[in-house]
Symmetry: C2
């Protein structure tokens, strides 16, 4: 009954991709792609209209009567989408290097996830969403153990699920406030309302931690996110602005990082003097929305030490970097430390939101961190299966391999189109490149999409690459060839 | 393949409930229950251990190594739960009048929802969660139209989905701030950060609007929710403290409401003078978490007019009251006005979070109200089916009928146990009663649970009743009999 009829339209072997869809284009490389291991994937993009096509435009108009549709790119046919390919309602099939803002872990319609849906034992989990904080299902401890705890960051044995990334960060912040007060590190009483002290969270310029009002006070990637919304008076430190490739500018970058770290310490002291002590520092291992800004393992280790020195909690926000896309399950694993953080939050590719925390960060009393649903066991089911697939198919190694192909290709294109491209950078497939200006960046995004590749922007003028974990070397080559064509036509 | 083997353990006819499980108890009434129309329901509670039983205790210990379990009541067997009955891991079967903090609309394992899961056309919706704001699925406008828009509050044609209640209120607040600024009703510039003005939201003592930091600034039901978390300096008005039954105290109650409304206007003026103008007022039609506090339709109509007069938006939070439980789909329908609000937020029984808004409240630009997921189409699927069931089975009428039976029973018990019970009140099945003190209330909750009925507390010393929409008159009688037994033993 549940055999979905995908196989007919799926081609397993892709040997001559180059000659396939852009026979007249200026080719980036003559590499032939290796045999695909993604059996439910398509064999390449296939474009029928420019995007958005007529059907997408019609639906956008329809939805416009219900919602603001200014951000809608196009409408999708998720039933026909497979693996690395997103199919739209006009029959266009695009290689997806953006994956729903980096939130699809193992591609569209993965057979393992479809199979999970057909298991009658799982039905009840979908139709009876519990209030997890008061009435958890029997298998909840086991499911947490086999899924989230099996990928717990070093030093953390406790995890709290939440519905989305913003809720995860909001509650992580609250945990830090509670911990700070319970630790009695401050004796100042609240001036505003008894019991609601003027504590603060230190964040970085260019960071993105969500858009609910606590998160938004720590988000500084784009002005439009914050405009007209009241905020807290919390300290904002500069984030290092590094020069790439990192290894060629190690001295300059180390200086830049020192400057930022000094500023962090100054702000902690200043805000303590202001009567708004810093309960915690929140940081992304790679600033994503803010423009894929990297910092060295040394920077993060020093930040961790500053937190220890000043009695602040250290919160690493892995909502976008977590889940394997940097070649390790957590981006902070690249720092090589045993005690990377006090709290690590996640969402997106993990399908459920939530955060890991150290024992001492757990609130002292019930109902201090609480809401109706506290996550969703149906998402935990999918996550457990995603983790199985990651292990079974060694996807972290694959990401490292395809990430190298992607980044090397970007280096080559950057050399070739030095007037347009600069600052190619990345870890695993979590890569980015800068375009000469905002307007050209946006033009490139649209042209590339019309040739069958979906990319996303970030920062002022960067393009970010966020493929699924099943993205292989030959997918990198498909993209690089198309990207080269677009750049050649721009020149 | 998907025929679940429920029928064996389910009894359709319940004629002699009274004599069934408490043959020795002191009976409240001798009413025999009418034939059940809930075909997938059990025929009554069945208790094997006190709650939590040994298996629940063991699992609580296990989960305690992962999370704070101070709020866990017991562990559930959701596979075996049916209709109005929640089954725990020790084999206890309880009549559920709390329904996962009022979030299960049509009972456990409703056949219509199970059937939806077995439809192969729906699989893709579950396994490919889209970024709805940029890449919606083809059927998204139609699904919104046939589900949420079919129950849109009067005067509202626009709806935005969100993942949960807190996110819904956070984004509703942001919409009001944006609307307020865009309407250029204020000329004050932000003192703190350019672009982030000192606007405020007026809320009421005793209200609950969620626990993320924007919502939390408007939540004042219990101190533990707010302790140690920084907040905004926003105005808080008194909510009427009415005397029940309402019809007996109409003069006193009208005076009390006038007092509160005057205070609302005073606060609006005061906060404008402070340079923190009130962009919106948020209110629950019945304060739920805060103790089931009612106010008259007149009160809400006056509040609406105050908003118009002072240029504030009016936000009605129907997260707990919405979805049919008061006998109308929205509690604000009891006010009898055509233009009840500018924003109405929802979650819980609607399975997806979100809010309706008037045209002018929609943000002027894209990405101002935005996050990765913007809701979840899988939840919309369930909601559409829930709405079908509500209509097909006339559940709003049923709620009105069973709500009357419940409230009349509470009145009778209140007369009988006047030293313990007071202030019985309610609309539909959204009922509550006060207990003489907090400690007795908590003891009653536990004793009632051990006899097979799940209830929830609210406020300082209230019990709230939040059954599913499939709760019938005879379920009310089952509960009332058990409640009577508990009260008789307390006396």
């Amino acid at each position: 009954m549940y055999t979905h009829s995908l196989s007919a339209s799926v081609c397993v072997c892709v040997n001559v991709i180059n000659a396939y869809f852009f026979p007249l284009g200026c080719r980036y490389v003559s590499k032939t792609a290796t045999k695909t291991q993604v059996e439910f994937d398509y064999n390449g993009p296939s474009m029928k209209t420019s995007v958005p096509g007529p059907r997408s435009q019609e639906l956008t108009k329809q939805l416009g009567d219900i919602q603001n549709v200014g951000a809608v790119n196009f409408f999708c046919n998720y039933e026909e989408s497979r693996g690395n390919y997103l199919v739209d309602v006009d029959g266009n099939r695009m290689l997806d290097l953006y994956t729903q803002i980096s939130s699809i872990p193992i591609g569209y319609n993965h057979p393992a996830l479809l199979k999970l849906m057909t298991n009658p034992n799982n039905l009840s989990t979908f139709v009876n969403r519990p209030a997890l904080g008061i009435l958890p299902p029997e298998n909840f401890p086991d499911k947490l153990t086999e899924s989230l705890l099996s990928v717990a960051p070093s030093g953390m044995t406790r995890v709290q699920t939440m519905a989305c990334g913003s809720c995860s960060n909001e509650n992580a912040f609250k945990s830090m406030f509670i911990w700070y007060k319970v630790s009695e590190k401050t004796f100042k009483l609240c001036l505003l309302l008894p019991g609601c002290p003027d504590l603060s969270i230190l964040s970085f310029m260019g960071s993105f931690h969500g858009r609910t009002m606590g998160c938004l006070a720590t988000t500084h990637s784009k002005a439009i996110h914050k405009l007209d919304v009241p905020t807290f008076d919390w300290p904002i430190a500069p984030f290092p602005r590094l020069q790439y490739p990192l290894e060629e500018f190690s001295r300059e970058n180390a200086q830049e990082e020192s400057r930022c770290l000094e500023e962090v310490e100054d702000l902690i002291v200043k805000w303590r003097q202001k009567g708004k002590p810093v309960a915690g520092i929140v940081v992304e291992p790679i600033q994503a929305e803010g423009g894929d800004n990297h910092a060295s393992p040394d920077f993060f280790r020093s930040l961790r030490n500053i937190c220890r020195k000043h009695g602040c909690a250290f919160h690493v926000d892995e909502v976008q970097t977590g889940g394997g896309t940097t070649g390790k399950f957590w981006a902070h694993e690249h720092w090589g430390v045993d005690d990377p953080a006090d709290i690590v939050s996640f969402s997106k590719k993990l399908l459920t939101g939530g955060y890991f925390q150290k024992d001492e960060l757990q609130p002292d009393k019930a109902y201090r961190i609480f809401n109706t649903w506290m996550g969703d066991p149906a998402k935990n089911l999918f996550l457990a299966e995603v983790l199985n697939v990651i292990r079974r198919e060694n996807l972290l190694e694959e990401v490292t391999r395809s990430g190298k192909a992607l980044l090397n290709g970007l280096y080559e294109l950057q050399a070739q189109y030095s007037g347009i491209l600069s600052r190619a950078r990345g870890q695993g497939t979590f890569c980015a490149i800068d375009i000469c200006d905002d307007e050209t960046r946006n033009r490139i995004l649209l042209k590339t999409r019309d040739k069958g590749v979906i990319l996303g922007g970030c920062g002022d003028r960067s393009i970010r690459f966020r493929p699924a974990l099943i993205f292989k070397e030959y997918h990198a080559h498909i993209f690089l060839n198309i990207f080269n064509d677009v750049l050649a036509q721009l020149k």
